[in-house]
Subunit: 334 residues, 2 copies
């Protein structure tokens, strides 16, 4: 059996290009003691990966040139040397951009393929869903009646943020790019309002959509969108800083209006966070998310690319906002 | 008796000018029921006043053209219609830039003129001292062994910040402008290190002075100084945003490197605060500060201007960093 994987061919400068990635082939090897061989059905491409392939110092070691791209996948175990995980089980884990992956059973989470489509474990029932959950409940701290604003509202994280906020009695205002995404945000995802940051009257519309200001801002985007939101923040507002996707392809250090003065006059608290800092709560949190999904209270969308040879294009498109909901790449399965 | 006061003559554009202020004379009036007439000995000029005379929306109503400048003063009661405060008592309060002030007894705090020089109640035993105390202990939360960095380290707030940090077992690193201020910071104020932001090798020196990074940053200054400090912040560091004096005279909206990405990779928490949000703790906090001052553990310096006619110059100079320690204006007394 041949295993295809995607390695980093060059460090991207600015917007990543196809030529920054390379497809490699090698025979599938056999799992060692305590390991499983997983046939990947879906792999995830996420904004954070842009940071991992830049040379910038960050919270995790970068992917080196020639190394397989990092990322979470979901698939089926086809060989197992573990007592805990059986052949046929469906699992998720940080398996990288490859069609077959070997991983220690300890690093795999068994998922219930009958409870939700497999790909959901990369989205609403995976890292993006947990990110939304923790950012709102553990970082920002939301209270019923507050106005919660989220940028990247049509994305995997953002779409969950607004819905979880509403499930807690908040008013949810989403910022997204384009009228299609905005329609989805207020329609399918049920936000109270959506604001198109690409439209001319963006700031005016944002003000109209937040007549009582903004109590919690969940930031996935950064840049000028966030500059505008800061104008609308209320006294004692909280900002959960999850991502800054508008800045990830920047070649020069991004520059913008200085925001710290707002912090004083409005006693803003802002905190950056990473989903894996809250790992000990994952079981409980995923159970809650799964219950909401099952009951139709938490909806999600996916954009699905097909074939590992299209993973780089899916990743590049996602960075530019081409996706709606979670961007995944389907490698196998029905 | 004639009362002299300083009113706002024009909204400053950029650096305030003498002509933005006007001295006015009027007869001293008599206190009403429950009020006291105070002869001011010292009045305070502080960075926050720059915000109060700009047109910008802020946490308090601006001083209008023709109104007396706001500010805290300390003086002696010369007439009293209050049961609680007697003629001869020394008091502090928000009395404005005037030689004689009438205030409700409820808005005055009686101070112990035998425990410390009167002017100290405008500095280390007043708003600036409390600001340092709350910013470290209530906002940032410091722990023994941490590195605490403060900008504006030779000023009224900053000098107290470093000393309080050291009293809690922290390493204190101060940033100040010029070698005289830096000598004072490590000498009189006993910081572990001082870094001159006006020197060529500022960032290199800052790095050398914070070999284990920075756990808590107490920001009085903002701008490029703060940009440099952000490079040195540790994972899970806290930023207490107290002031942004480098930005207060800006005519155009200040621009600088975007900082929010740092928040994510380092899980930074930043919070802006105002001293009066913690008012309920003032008695207890001032008692602690007074004990430290009495025991020689908390030192302070003052820059004293003489006469209300020099108040505007003192204020303008302070905004440019001409002061060392607390800038006050002496109006009466020994």
């Amino acid at each position: 059996m041949t295993n295809r994987s995607i390695v980093l061919a060059a460090r991207p400068v600015g917007v990543p290009k196809q030529s920054d990635f390379r497809l490699e082939e090698a025979p599938v090897s056999s799992p060692g003691a305590g390991e499983c061989l997983v046939k990947v059905h879906y792999m995830s491409v996420d904004p954070y990966m842009r940071g991992r392939i830049s040379g910038r110092k960050s919270y995790a070691a970068p992917v080196e040139i020639g190394q397989v791209m990092v990322g979470a996948s979901v698939g089926q175990v086809i060989e197992s040397n573990s007592d805990r995980i059986a052949v046929g089980d469906y699992v998720t884990g940080a398996l990288g951009w490859r069609e077959y992956a070997i991983a220690s059973a300890e690093d795999l989470r068994v998922v219930d393929a009958s409870a939700a489509p497999l790909s959901a474990y990369l989205g609403v029932l995976g890292m993006p869903g947990l990110t939304a959950y923790y950012g709102l409940l553990k970082v920002a701290g939301i209270e019923s009646g507050e106005t919660v604003c989220v940028s990247g509202a049509a994305g995997a994280v953002g779409s969950a943020v607004g819905q979880i906020a509403r499930l807690h009695g908040c008013r949810a205002v989403g910022i997204a790019g384009g009228s299609d995404k905005c329609s989805l945000v207020t329609g399918e995802f049920g936000f109270d309002a959506a604001v198109d940051y690409k439209s001319d009257g963006f700031f005016k519309t944002l003000r109209a959509a937040t007549p009582d200001g903004i109590d919690v801002y969940f930031d996935n985007v950064g840049g000028p969108v966030t500059d505008a939101v800061f104008q609308q923040l209320n006294v004692r507002s909280r900002v959960a800083i999850c991502g800054q996707i508008s800045q990830y392809n920047a070649v020069d250090a991004p520059v913008g209006p200085r925001l710290l003065w707002h912090f004083i006059t409005k006693r803003i608290r802002a905190e950056g966070f990473l989903v894996f800092d809250f790992r000990k709560h994952d079981d409980e949190s995923l159970a809650q998310m799964a219950a909401w999904v099952r009951d139709g209270k938490l909806k999600y969308r996916e954009t699905v690319a097909e074939g590992i040879e299209n993973a780089a294009a899916a990743f590049i498109g996602m960075l530019g906002g081409a996706n709606i909901g979670k961007q995944v790449v389907k490698l196998a399965g029905d």
